[in-house]
Subunit: 347 residues, 2 copies
């Protein structure tokens, strides 16, 4: 079965999703289909030769063949109705809205389309940073202390000491994020964050905190972790820098850390992954503060699937496609209706 990269989506990360798909086109050795989801919710089958960012920016994709998602897969519409596209296994590359908020996952599960990517439940748990805190708590992985501010009660006092970092609760890629050094910068930072969400998370901003990224997936019941990367940063990653990050394809150097810390980071990764990320290649970003590991965020669809962290990404991807979880299908036997009808007369 061919793989089909699905990318785009109605999302602040629409454009980096395109960049991500172009990067993976270079990395994946198998023959691929490319399915673009435009901002309006329409799917398009893109020729490999057209996988260039300007093709989308100029909206030339509208000349491509439109696809429709239905039971068992994608369809094209012709003069005599729908015809099924060849069966594919989707790779969900739609960062942010549609891809990471659980919409596409729900649709693929509903229509019985196999896909590499996070399932609806864990999408929700990692898309909203408030729930990521809960996920950490449930899985036994620490997260930084935090305060939530809701738009309607934005005058609430922040009882954390400055500097703090302000994040909209539902966006990735540093959009709407600010580091605030004093009370007088707070208002503006909240204005920015509330443009993107009604709930904002405030956390201590720890200067020069060590950050480590671990990616991985589960293959035949075993969790496989990537190299551990200590990303280089100045202050924190801004959107443009992260944007370039999504086009990464080269393998990175493993972080120079001792074996014990490496093992603890991988153990924390496994605890999170095991909670329902089966079928996805995810990246967890951790902080290490005073020797303790803290979960910062879960990227359930990391930029270019964090391919650069794996020694053999093609092997990994192939393993994941062979280890996809199957949604529980329930057999309805109308036993209750029949029983109750015979007991109580007509319902």
């Amino acid at each position: 079965m061919k793989l089909a990269l699905v990318f785009g989506g109605n999302s602040y990360e629409h454009e980096i999703s395109i960049v991500s798909a172009i990067a993976l086109k270079k990395v994946i050795k198998k023959e691929l289909l490319f399915i673009f989801l435009d901002e309006g919710g329409e799917f398009w089958l893109i020729d490999a030769a057209n996988m260039k960012s300007t093709y989308f920016a100029k909206r030339e994709y509208k000349k491509a063949k439109q696809l429709y998602l239905q039971k068992d897969g994608f369809f094209t519409k012709g003069f005599f109705g729908f015809s099924a596209l060849e069966k594919v296994c989707v790779v969900n590359l739609a960062h942010g809205g549609d891809g990471e908020d659980g919409r596409l996952a729900s649709m693929f599960d509903f229509y019985g389309v196999p896909y590499v990517g996070p399932r609806t439940e864990v999408c929700v748990m990692s898309f909203n940073k408030l729930y990521t805190k809960s996920l950490g708590l449930i899985c036994g992985v620490k997260t930084l202390e935090h305060k939530t501010i809701f738009k309607k009660e934005r005058d609430a006092k922040i009882d954390l000491s400055y500097p703090v970092i302000i994040k909209p609760s539902r966006l990735g890629s540093s959009i709407g994020v600010s580091v605030v050094k004093s009370q007088k910068e707070l208002d503006y930072a909240l204005d920015v964050a509330f443009e993107f969400d009604d709930a904002v998370i405030v956390e201590p901003f720890i200067e020069n905190v060590r950050e480590f990224n671990v990616a991985g997936a589960k293959i035949k019941g075993e969790i496989v972790c990537s190299n551990i990367e200590e990303p280089q940063k100045e202050g924190y990653l801004d959107f443009e820098k992260k944007y370039m990050d999504f086009s990464r394809t080269g393998e990175v150097e493993a972080a120079g850390i001792d074996e014990a810390l490496g093992a603890r980071l991988k153990e924390a990764f496994a605890k999170i992954y095991d909670f329902g990320f089966d079928g996805a290649i995810i990246r967890c970003d951790f902080f290490v503060v005073d020797g303790e590991v803290y979960l910062n965020e879960v990227n359930p669809i990391p930029g270019s699937l964090a391919n650069y962290l794996f020694a053999d990404f093609n092997h990994l991807l192939d393993g994941v496609t062979r280890s996809l979880p199957h949604p529980r299908r329930i057999k309805v036997d109308y036993k209750y209706i029949n029983d109750i009808k015979s007991a109580k007369g007509k319902l």
Copy 2:
């Protein structure tokens, strides 16, 4: 715009969803469409005259007109291709899987179909009882102490004193739930619960605990609460009893409680509702222990929409359909691709 009840789904609660729809047919005064979702994921347009439980149990619905969900609504397939059904506002009545796990909500949001019902995020937060605990914590509403047991570590010790109640983490309607009075009953109860889910919640079972149900919705920014009901029970509600419960249509007596407790229950309801249930009519079930209010569970699609708790359900439903939240649509301008392209040359 007509309302369309969508019911059924691939769910252990498929049959009670049918019962629920039949009950609402009697209650709702507006002209309705009936859209049945069969266990295989196919939608069918059901004649009002056929809204009888045996029609479904005998699978006669397969002679009805099949519907397809696409952009902006449902479609029928004819000799000359697809034609749009009249525009409807869906009322999501699919209890359990598909309806309450976020799949239908995701699809309605994706395709731009207006609907009464919980959005994906809060579906996930209330479908999984583990997350309901998190929801309570985030919203400032207490929940009972609990322990989680995962299938793979089922020998874990339960450090709660008996009796306890064992619940699969993701099912409603008392399916797979047992009250366990001693250690020797535990194994069997876990066997039952693990048939339905890989994660099980154990809570203290409090004999004769007072339970109160409050339903409500938000209309034009204001939360409207129902009468408060103190449900009658023997031990706890078993599936068959609950099943009959889904067919309720008569108005209930308000619970005989003092005003202060009533106000606290409604305040707890509002805290939960405000967290993202806009657009839905939900029912929260609370325990009161030693004067403290505890959230037991959130029913984001309660049986027959808890119509029997409202003095004027038709007025409420009408208000909710006029107060639906609109999903945030993002305008993609390809600014980043254009900027980066001009800065860095071809991507």
